[in-house]
């Protein structure tokens, strides 16, 4: 029996159609035109206890809607969800007592209160028994190095410090499942690393099941063995990260500025995407042709001014997946 079970999940929102202008606004009050918008069309997956799953997809793909349904805030239009034997939106209070949630964009803490006071209040809200609370709190404070921050009001913390406090706040009641919605968004590099390291320890050492959504492929690379790609409310890929990397994620982009006009290049396994004056944009697969080898080949025969390699943006990866998905359907 999986810990999280999602079957044929669908969610539509009704959006009011507004005719522009004053007359439109008045007409809208009397007679509203509604339009159905699909946030999730047909999503099914399951998760075993102790797994770490990353949900990736562009904005508006349905990631947050899925998290909101799984955490009991939203009721789906159709489909079935079970988490640890409970239907989240039917039994919200019992359900949320067992899960922890961290939103990258939203604080769980009290802005004007010192961090420690917020923790104390959460312990009361979750009815954590005092001795247990103190043990858990001290453990989290040590893991997240929160000791020097405890007496500071939340509003004085930097974003990176606040995220560490957010993680502790979400875990004080010792949940077995953790939902993370874009936990590294806006963080600087060291803070991102600290968050990833902490999530990994939590998952490996304490067996906490983690479901995270992200835009950042480095998050996925550092953390997840399994990845779900979601787009336009549909599941495009559900599988090990390694196979995704060997497939659609394999492509790399190479940008070169030559000293003179961009030459014609004909290298096996390289596609020329764009050519403009002295600049050239190429794509290649590092699995077949490693980047150093390609760069060496180019610089040995041409004078190069500047050169850099980029991974494809997540939006492009999704677009590629769509093409593959549509081709498969047809």
């Amino acid at each position: 029996m999986p810990q999280i079970l999602v079957e044929a999940l669908a969610k539509t929102y009704r959006v009011a159609e507004r005719t522009p202008g004053l007359i439109g606004a008045v007409r809208g009050l009397v007679h509203r035109q509604w339009r159905e918008v699909w946030a999730l069309a047909d999503v099914s997956f399951s998760l075993e206890a102790g797994e770490l799953l990353a949900f990736i997809g562009p904005n508006g793909a349905g990631k947050s809607t899925t998290i909101k349904i799984l955490s009991g805030i939203l009721r789906p239009t159709s489909g079935r969800v079970e988490v640890d034997g409970l239907v989240p939106y039917e039994d919200r209070i019992h359900h949320v007592a067992r899960i922890g949630v961290v939103f990258g964009q939203r604080s769980q803490l009290w802005w004007d209160l010192p961090v420690i006071d917020g923790f104390d209040l959460l312990a009361d809200i979750y009815r954590v028994e005092p001795a247990r609370y103190r043990r858990r709190r001290d453990e989290l404070v040590a893991m997240l190095r929160l000791e020097p921050l405890l007496d500071q009001p939340v509003r004085q913390l930097s974003l990176g410090q606040r995220m560490r406090a957010e993680f502790a706040a979400a875990l004080l009641h010792d949940p077995t499942i953790l939902f993370l919605d874009e936990p590294t968004i806006g963080l600087d590099a060291p803070s991102k690393l600290a968050v990833r390291e902490f999530v990994r320890r939590l998952n490996r050492e304490q067996g906490v099941t983690v479901l995270l959504t992200t835009h950042d492929m480095h998050d996925v690379e550092a953390l997840a063995e399994r990845v779900i790609v979601i787009g336009h409310g549909r599941l495009l890929v559900d599988g090990p990260f390694a196979s995704l990397r060997a497939g659609v994620l394999a492509e790399r982009r190479l940008y070169i500025d030559f000293v003179g006009p961009a030459p014609m290049l004909d290298i096996d396994g390289v596609t020329i995407k764009a050519r403009e004056g002295r600049s050239l944009e190429l794509t290649f697969n590092p699995g077949r042709l490693p980047a150093p080898k390609l760069i060496a080949a180019i610089t040995s025969s041409h004078a190069v001014d500047d050169i850099h390699v980029e991974e494809p943006a997540i939006e492009e990866v999704i677009a590629r997946l769509y093409e593959l998905h549509d081709a498969h359907e047809a």
Partner: protein, 269 residues
């Protein structure tokens, strides 16, 4: 269950006070300002009576009694339900309501504990001072039954004003923003209920008795406290029972709130 909820509420209040203690000067000035602003109102009432004499058979001292009770009720309700008042702007529109739903407690309890503003003690203090003044001006035969009636009326009034604020919050599930229209009922209600009911036109009296039963928590129980018969003809035995209407109003407001919660779960913010 209820004891635990009350204990948590007390923790919320304590946390809220600690947060305000971070800005002591601001809190003090807001409290004093609130006290002064509301004190102007009773001066206006006094000016009215000084110029025109008794209104509708009521003296200034009696009108001050209405004024004091209504302001005490409203300030206590306002103190207890701030989260509902700012629900649309601070919770639904910003998405912060989701944060409350992620915690294993009733959303209404968390909202009630959201912020208990010390500054609102200004109105409570001012109302209490006017209450003392009015009992000096009007001979009231205080005994157990009048004291119980007065406390019961204030309790019913707190429930009624809390109900109005809950309804105002409930509207935000549909409109997202908190509607200023609802302030007409809460703040306008305070103004309307400050005066004895019999000075109003019949349709307005019915509105204040049956729709938003402000008369049931102020006018009728005050008649009972003053041991005066109702000039409009309500039977004497009914007068002390009327504050129950405040609790009925609150219960209906929470039914509407639950419908709003169900809507939120299916539509989100």
């Amino acid at each position: 269950m209820i004891v635990n909820a009350l204990a948590l509420y007390a923790r919320y209040v304590a946390a809220s006070l600690r947060a305000q203690a971070q800005y002591p000067a601001s809190t003090l000035m807001l409290t004093a300002g609130h006290c002064a602003a509301t004190a102007i109102e009773i001066l206006a009432v006094y000016a009215l009576f000084a110029r025109f004499g008794p209104v509708g058979g009521w003296s200034f001292g009696e009108a001050a009694l209405f004024y004091a009770l209504v302001n005490i009720m409203f300030s206590v309700a306002d103190l207890l339900t701030r989260g509902f008042e700012v629900f649309g702007t601070e919770f639904v529109r910003t998405g912060a309501f989701d944060r409350l739903l992620l915690r294993p407690r009733a959303a209404a309890l968390q909202l009630a504990g959201h912020e208990v503003r010390l500054s609102r003690l200004g109105r409570l203090l001012q109302g209490s001072l006017v209450l003392i003044l009015s009992t000096r001006l009007v001979p009231i035969a205080w005994d157990v039954s009048t004291i119980v009636t007065a406390i019961w009326a204030v309790a019913g009034g707190v429930a009624l004003f809390a109900g109005i604020l809950v309804l105002q919050a409930t509207l935000a599930f549909w409109t997202v923003e908190s509607l200023e229209v609802a302030n007409v009922i809460s703040y306008g209600g305070v103004q309307a209920a400050q005066y004895p009911l019999n000075i109003y036109a019949a349709w307005f009296r019915r509105l204040l008795t049956f729709a938003v039963p402000l008369a049931c928590v102020a006018y009728y129980p005050v008649l009972a406290v003053l041991k005066r018969p109702d000039p409009l003809g309500a039977p004497d035995w009914l007068l002390p029972l009327t504050p129950a209407a405040g609790f009925i109003f609150l219960a209906l407001a929470f039914l509407a709130w639950r419908a709003g919660m169900a809507r939120y779960a299916s539509s989100g913010s």
